[in-house]
Amino acid sequence: MFSQSPSCRYLLSSFYLRVPAFCTGCLSGEYCNYSFFLFGSYIWCVEDDTKEPDFNSTNPASWSHGYVAPEAHQGIVSSSTYIFDVLSAGMSRLQGPSSLKRKRPELNSPVQSLTEHERILYDVIRSKQDIGIWTRDMKKEAKLPDNVVNKSLKALQVKNLIKEVVNIQNKGRKHFMATEFEPSKEISGGAWYLEGSLDTEFIESLRQLCKRQIEKKGVATLEEVTDLINSYPAFNVDVTKQQIEEILRTLIWDNAIMEVKSNGMGEFASIPFGKVCYRYVSKGGLGGEPRAGALASIPCGVCPRISRCTPDGVISPKTCVYYQKWLDF
């Protein structure tokens, strides 16, 4: 999942990862400046991260070699998987900000040195801007024989003038675009997609972060949540209000939060009257699981065979395997 790259803000060795993440021990919204060390499933928050950790020691504290951070910042060990999520989200977005900027072709551009066929093809592709074009359409439009198109495509790729992109609408089709463009939302799938697939890690960690923020505050507005998320150093991609709203929606479908209107009183005192905000659902059951109702708590309620179950049939409550399991205590 992690790879070491010189441009990476994260330092990765085979043993540990030092990250400017935030501290789960002080999830108060004030972000601490302590660094984190991740080793196996443990994470420490240390005060001085300039010293190299000693992994030969059996004492976890010395793995960091720095000073263990004040107590308030140490509620972390069990949350390492969570931090991990956040990290991977951050990592997967490393290319984020730069990729948003449109690259200009370099000055001594190889455009001049194109063959006639290459030029025709390049013009067709380039004219499609950030939508790009499917090879078959390209062949039709350029009116060139297949083998010429294939050869020219290769040449254009080598010259770094075009690139192959994944079209979210139809992943099986070969789709090309001029290098200076970034795939439009229709092609890439938008902010939630990474190379043609849903960036589930990123989404899940955003969901967790939003949920925690609302849980801590009780009620929060969309703007508040967005600001809090964007002030996290772990995310080097700015998320928009609309993105956070989409995330909050999924939390509503999870029954983790609910949409309410402020009445300006009590817990809503700081929120203007009538403004839509989000409230944490405290009794949503364990781990986001809804409380099982009367029917869901008995085997028949979730039984895949209920339609074939009859009092005296082959499948019956007397011979039922689900009952057997349920009543075996």
């Binding site: 999924t250 999870d254 009183m265 409380r291 309620g301 019956s316 409550p317």
Partner: protein
């Protein structure tokens, strides 16, 4: 045989009936009762079989499946002897599970109107039979032991005259004499837990022109304005209820002896009905002399609804909210007349507070605090509605919340977390949504489902995009739920592409889940019977040594099964009665 009465309608002399051949068709009264689902019938028949044996159950089954029938037809369908059928009907009447009635129908073509004597099974009352322990629990919380005994006796016997009640308690030490007995019956009647039995055979006249007309006009309009016409069952029950003043009037009689004498000379209402059935004469006569009493299941159902609502508030909010909510229930209780009430009467802050401080838990609350709790109760999800500083309980919404919770928890367990999200998205959105966000414009649509689209509005949110699940996986989960009848689907063809639209139809789904509940309840009950048999075998062998452990286990198993069944019955009430 006089059970299918054909007689002149006293209100319409035959001379006045002169239709031409082209006159309108004879008016038929709709015989539709409220639909009972397949497993609802099976469950009800199972209850009757357990309590009264297979013959009564057979008659009950026939009436539940075919709707109200005259005696002759019941004999024909059940293939039982007439005497047997009569006796079965009497058992059902005695236990308030059957209501006979007279139905008037137009003769047509110059003939006089017909009046038939029909029998209708009261499905709800059959189901109430498994709730008797709940009824008793309510009485024992509010009244003394004697009242509990009284209710138990009435539940056991179905309907009794005061004389029969007195006789039953004559030798009992707990009764404390006739006076105490009368007083306690009076208390129970005042609390509406005991009522006079309904009229034994109410008469349903043909609806007049004015009554029939608006129903037709309403029917022609769109579904939204259409008001569901009363079912036959509702009409019969309404006609059978004694007038409000009579229903709950119990006169304290210092001279019980005199009453007794009268009773000995005349027969009870039941006896009359029996005589009527046996002699084949008119059974619609109401004996004014002897009053029969029975437990008023309606009031108990209301109380159970209150209890369940309080628990919903407690689990969703907290104990304080439940305390204030309970006070609101108590303050508005006397005004409630129906079971399916949408909301309570509005209450002022002061009247709620006055009720709150009556309870031990509420005594330490200040008025300000109670008001803040009320604000909590009226914010989302609003269990209480506020209009002009007065508060009323939104029963309808509370019950809907409970129903939704139940359905969602089944979806979660059956289909998993992602399905749960999709289901909630669809049910909250309340309209057709596409699997994923591919823009569909109306003019590109051809083929199936087009009509429905114009009424539901085009979907522009994709399910997979909103839930963040890959399209393929989303389609997979959605179609699984669809196969399980949890979703509705529409196929749309736009050129070469096919789109699937999904929707949650809560009304159908509720019925479906209710049917599953009946099925599950039946299964629990069958399993209890099976376990009991095993227990008997062990008892036969003796409960010592290795058998003891097995016996203990069986006891636990039975307890789990029984308590699950009672909990499930609460859920059935949430879906069926409230």
């Amino acid at each position: 045989m006089a059970q299918l009465h054909v007689r002149k309608n006293p209100t319409q002399p035959s001379s006045s009936v002169s239709h031409s051949l082209h006159s309108q068709k004879p008016k038929k009264q709709a015989l539709t009762t409220a639909m009972v689902s397949q497993y609802g019938i099976k469950y009800a028949v199972h209850i009757i079989t357990n309590h009264f044996g297979p013959l009564v159950a057979k008659v009950c089954d026939c009436l539940l499946k075919k709707g109200p029938l005259p005696l002759r037809e019941i004999v024909r369908y059940t293939e039982l002897s007439e005497t047997l059928v009569r006796n079965c009907l009497l058992v059902l009447i005695q236990h308030n599970c059957l209501q006979p009635f007279l139905l008037e129908e137009e003769g047509g073509f110059g003939e006089v109107n017909k009046v038939s004597s029909l029998y209708m099974v009261l499905f709800d009352n059959v189901l109430h039979r498994v709730r008797f322990s709940k009824f008793m629990a309510i009485v024992s919380q509010e009244f003394n032991k004697l009242c509990v005994d009284l209710i138990e006796t009435l539940l056991q016997h179905g309907r009794l005259s005061s004389e029969q009640i007195f006789d039953g308690f004559r030798d009992s030490s707990s009764s404390g004499g006739m006076e105490a007995l009368q007083e306690n019956i009076h208390k129970l009647v005042m609390a509406r837990y005991v009522e006079r039995c309904p009229i034994s055979e109410p008469f349903l006249a043909l609806p007049s022109e004015e009554e029939a007309a608006p129903a037709r006009r309403r029917g022609a309009k769109s579904a939204k304005v259409f008001l569901e016409p009363e079912t036959l069952e509702q009409r019969v029950l309404a006609a059978a209820v004694p007038p409000e003043g009579m229903r709950f009037s119990f006169e304290l009689n210092p001279e019980i002896g005199a009453d007794r004498e009268k009773a000995e000379n005349s027969s009870t209402g039941d006896k009359r009905k029996r005589d009527a059935l046996e002699s084949g004469t008119d059974g619609g006569f109401v004996d004014k002399q002897v009053v029969l009493w029975r437990v008023n299941c309606e009031e108990f159902t209301r109380r159970l609804r209150h209890k369940i609502c309080i628990e919903i508030v407690r689990t969703r909010l907290d104990d304080e909210a439940a305390t204030v909510f309970t006070a609101m229930l108590n303050a508005s209780r006397s005004e409630e007349k129906k079971i399916k009430t949408a909301s309570s009467v509005p209450l002022s802050e002061n009247s709620i507070y006055a009720e709150v401080i009556k309870s031990e838990k509420g005594r330490n609350m200040t008025l300000d605090y109670v008001i803040s709790v009320l604000v909590g109760l009226s914010s989302s999800p609003p269990f209480v509605r506020v209009v002009d500083n007065s508060y009323s309980i939104d029963y309808k919404h509370i019950i809907e919340v409970a129903q939704t919770d139940e359905v969602e928890s089944i979806v979660y367990k059956k289909y998993g977390k992602d399905a749960y999200r999709m289901f909630r998205l669809l049910s909250k959105t309340g309209r057709f949504l596409e699997t994923d966000k591919v823009s569909v414009t109306p003019h590109t649509l051809v083929g199936v489902g087009l009509d429905s689209l114009s009424t539901v509005g085009l979907a522009n949110i994709g399910i997979s995009d909103s839930i963040f699940v890959e399209k393929k996986e989303t389609a997979n989960i959605l179609s699984k739920m669809w196969q399980g009848d949890y979703l509705q689907m529409e196929k749309l063809v736009a050129g070469p592409t096919q789109f699937l639209l999904w929707k949650v139809n809560m009304i159908n789904l509720r019925e479906r889940v209710l049917d599953d509940m009946f099925h599950a309840s039946l299964n629990l009950s069958l399993r209890v019977a099976y376990e009991l048999e095993q227990q008997k075998e062990i008892l036969h062998l003796g409960v010592d040594g290795p058998m003891k452990e097995k016996y203990e286990k069986l006891k636990k198993v039975r307890f789990l099964l029984e308590s699950s069944r009672m909990k499930l019955d609460d859920a059935i009430m949430i879906f069926h009665d409230f």
